[in-house]
Symmetry: D2
Subunit: 368 residues, 4 copies
């Protein structure tokens, strides 16, 4: 268990890209402490995701910088949504983006980096894969409250969001019960319903709607009426924000435009609430939990996971195993090639055991 | 400290009216335990607020009913928004309502009640006052997360909502900071801004907007730009939902209709966010915390307050001091005549010390 | 995803044995809902663990019994520490115990059980294994805050205790820092140090002592002095209660007796605190977190795990796969033969990745 | 609500003395922001309480120092227990102490202080009073989790400790109920039982023991047996640590010595647990919550109170109203002469309404 110190030291850049989430600072600390204490490396913190690398905005991180940040939400580096490989949406003109990639490669060289450590979700690890193909040494860490990254059993951030979402459902139970109402709560999850599914099971949701399973309002209505007949005069509906995309997929262009124009934020929760009232006549209220899901102190589980993944990333750096993403695999830490998560989204399979668990305890998934 | 038992026993009805909030069950337990153990009274639980009294829906509460409910959110009696004295909105015909008042009086007699204990906000205690004028014996308890009841320093429910709102602001800080954004959070409070003001101070909000102080978007813009100049690249704006009414007051009928039609729930948070983006060009996001503010386990302070007020209400019953609302006054429990809260709303005075506190620590209240 | 109903229905007994922990009620609900809704089985709740089965103390559980208990701490069945196969400590006389086993077998028959579902830790699942060898149909669920059950990646209860332990460490940080002190906190874990290890990593403990790694006070002293030299004037020491056994193992009988007599509860935290003060002269304080670690509302993760394991247990019942314990295996639910956990304790291997994680971020494990 | 800037600026020292507690940083921020923004004053942070003033250990606090600390536990200044006016315990020789007072006066002059702001409990405000008599300008803030300061309705720190203590009681309920046990929990409170009383009421404690009311174990035993007869097979006993002093007061010197030698920390919880087992034969367990009560993130209420008191202290500075302690009085902020709290302890009067509340809901206070 002693500390080994490499005779040859390395310099690496570290950045956090995409939306922020609980555990980013814990992971930064994990990478930097292990790299510093164990391997005598130098860390350059890059500001606001890939934007900082494009603009050459970085600074050396000393132990004082990554001390005491384990429990803090957000990211000391700043997060950014810059995607260097993404073409501008309107024209399909990729020139600007290619300039960005060149700027990244140039700054990588100028900063004297031996490796780039990136903390992010699907998009970020896809960018990492593409940069690795361009010849850069890259190590990725899986971060997202959506838990939709292929190649790892769990991404950090998910557990904290699960705790927050579940506590919100707990709170709505009181009101639903006191007022004999249907309460709809919308949790995050654009393409994957993991958060709504797990929080729905943890919170005892009566109905859970996720993007992977297009719901049938008739089935929902029957389930609520069955419950009412059993004397359950209230119900909780947990819905992933991405369930909206399914609804919109069924619309033609005109309907979609009208629907979007009607609402400040096109919100599935309000839509489902209206549909339930129309279908059943039951008093229904909607809550969109929003940004509180991704902020604040990370849960103990996320701190443990982020710290483990961070130190494992430092080990990859030390061994020169680049082009990989560290991952949780069963009860151990491993790594996968960056091509594994690149360009993919881990969605909830219909036959996943947690769907079965939900159904087993009487939850309606919106379909027969 | 011994228990005294009255030789003559009384029967009282107890109901919870208006929206639910944390501490209702603690208060019910306080009233019923003291009434039962100390005074040997019989409690009739009336279902779903005044509706239950109109319809004669009640049952005897035994110690088993009010045991173990101290920490539970919501209300074991069910809450209802029935207002017997309110005229039907469309026709101005008050006959139906008078029928309801007669039904209440009739059921009060038929159930053999010596007193009616009501737990609720301004509307409920106003109804209590009117019923007292009709000859019923009424004792009121002040319950609301809005803390806008005249006659008591504090209503139960407020402290729990303050804790929830503050925790949400804490969470938004991470994201605001990581993304250099302005985050707007909307807390409850239709007519009074107590919750937004207190949670804003507790959460270190940079701007707090309450219904009592009409805001000037120019002032807000300048404050945000001052912060940016000082290197503070993010800001938190806490806004009471009732701040919307001020905005609408300035609109003519047509604008108001258009504004309301644009949004699923007319939300001040989204409006303020749009105004800030227009005024400053800063990236701004909105969150409406919604129903989670009124549910869940009551805070320790609310349990203590609700229990104290509950036992004090039982003392009033025992002494036959009817027509009163129990109240927190300084560091003691007292009571006031039901006419004190009736028909009033306790709003935030501009010179309240908490407004001054907010301004003293650099918070902008939306005005010079 | 439809519900299937078995034509032949079964009756099973269900009991919770050993210490209570968060998630027991969630698991009971999971078993009973799935068994009832999906398989039309009848559940008999057995009171206070094996004691209830010995004494024939049971009652039919209806849906009302297992509705609304998902979030409640403790166990609606009552927990008991009766171990029917354990010989009386003094005499080695097993007759009484054998009587208990016979009573269990007799009651199992008389109650008409098709299977016995047991929720417990190592001891309970060992008892389950022995009862299976006696011919009873048994299905086990792994429950313990110690996470020391062989055959499952995780037992429910552990995650909740981890959250509580970590929050306590967070709190001690403030005081340690404000007063420039060493704070020692003792967490549960008789034979295995999982809880102290994980909470120690999550809470940023500077020193973590677990039963599996006998500590050297000289090493601890040097680590604290190194920190002081680096300007870190405070430190947090997280110690598993079972680390005491190591200390006692080194004592002769007389020393041990003296040591035990000196203390109300022989506590490793106070001992380590004294040793640190003697070794370094640094002001040191101890806290023994105690029973709060095993009570209260289960964490979202524990609710999800307990619900999944519960429904999986019902599936085993339906398929007649007896003699097994349900288990978490990677990101899926499986089951193992009851012989797998029986008689074993899963301790922390010295080369476990979490030990390596701890050391990588600079934590001292009490040895070089 | 505009900011006024004094033309003449002042310099003040600020220190935190006694044990740390939640809200200290919020109060420091409140004082310093208001003093800086509104009055253009200069703040000198003095390290580790009065020790820093004796040793001249201070530094100028800039806005960066007191920004972002609102939610942090502990104190950025460091806390110290130095009492300059206290004579050395052994010899009664006060010379050393007088030297300390002289050193304080000398450093006060040398640092060019116009005022000294002290945050602390009874001891600290007493020291403040004595320093004011020596001619120094002093403003005090009331800080303590014990809430035992005369002159203010509430001290900050108390509300956070109340929340922590209550949550711990909630957790013990699960275990008590599952195992049909008596659980004893010891909360802080040397001389005053406010914390145990309020947390006991908030947590639904069945028995509450505080230093102000010497308990009779016979009464406790009868209460537990009455509960058992009513089918309540478990009980929660909440005891203030200071209840020990009452026990010891009844001992003679020899008994006291023996008692103290028997225990690592002489703990009332373990003593009461043993007494209950001896008196009733009921299985009883003890938990001493310890230091977790005074650390961690302050509650929303404490942040609000500490911020208000802090800004009010800055107002006193600006007006030159020295020799006073800011205070909460009803629903407003006021101040009292430092002679009011000096040398006193606010204990729980036997006829306090919260004692009556506790008794009204069936709680035994240890006496008839």
């Amino acid at each position: 268990m002693g500390k080994l110190r490499a005779s040859v030291t390395k310099t690496f850049g570290i950045l956090t890209a995409g939306g922020d989430c609980p555990g980013l600072n814990a992971a930064i600390r994990g990478v930097c402490r292990a790299a510093h204490d164990r391997y005598n490396m130098t860390a350059l913190g890059i500001a606001y995701g890939f934007r900082g690398l494009i603009e050459g905005d970085s600074r050396v991180l000393s132990p004082d910088d990554f001390s005491g940040i384990l429990t803090r939400g957000g990211t000391i580096l700043g997060a950014g949504r810059e995607k260097p490989f993404k073409a501008p949406p309107a024209h399909g003109d990729t020139e600007v983006s290619l300039d960005k990639v060149e700027a990244i490669k140039e700054n990588y060289r100028q900063l004297g980096l031996d490796c780039l450590v990136i903390l992010g979700g699907n998009g970020t690890n896809t960018t990492g894969y593409l940069l690795a193909r361009e010849g850069l040494n890259v190590v990725g860490l899986p971060k997202t409250i959506d838990n939709d990254i292929v190649g790892t059993d769990r991404a950090f951030g998910f557990n904290s969001a699960l705790a927050i979402g579940t506590e919100a459902i707990d709170r709505l139970h009181s009101t639903a019960q006191s007022h004999s109402r249907v309460m709809v709560i919308e949790l995050m999850g654009h393409k994957a319903g993991w958060l709504a599914l797990y929080a729905g099971v943890a919170g005892g949701g009566d109905i859970i709607l996720i993007p992977e399973i297009p719901y049938d309002i008739k089935v929902i209505g029957r389930h609520l009426e069955d419950r009412a007949r059993d004397g359950k005069t209230f119900s909780i509906v947990v819905v992933a924000e991405g369930a909206l995309s399914i609804v919109e997929d069924k619309m033609d262009k005109k309907e979609k435009k009208k629907y979007r124009s009607e609402t400040v934020t096109p919100s599935i929760a309000y839509r489902v609430a209206r549909e339930i009232e129309a279908e059943t006549g039951m008093e229904t209220r909607a809550t969109v939990l929003g940004y509180v899901q991704r902020g604040g102190i990370p849960s103990a589980s996320d701190r443990v996971l982020a710290t483990s993944l961070g130190t494992a990333a430092a080990d990859l750096l030390a061994r020169g195993e680049y082009g990989r993403m560290v991952a949780l695999s069963g009860d151990g830490i491993s790594s996968v090639d960056l091509s594994v998560p690149a360009g993919k989204v881990k969605t909830v399979p219909r036959d996943h055991y947690m769907v079965d668990t939900a159904v087993s305890v009487g939850t309606c998934m919106g379909v027969e």
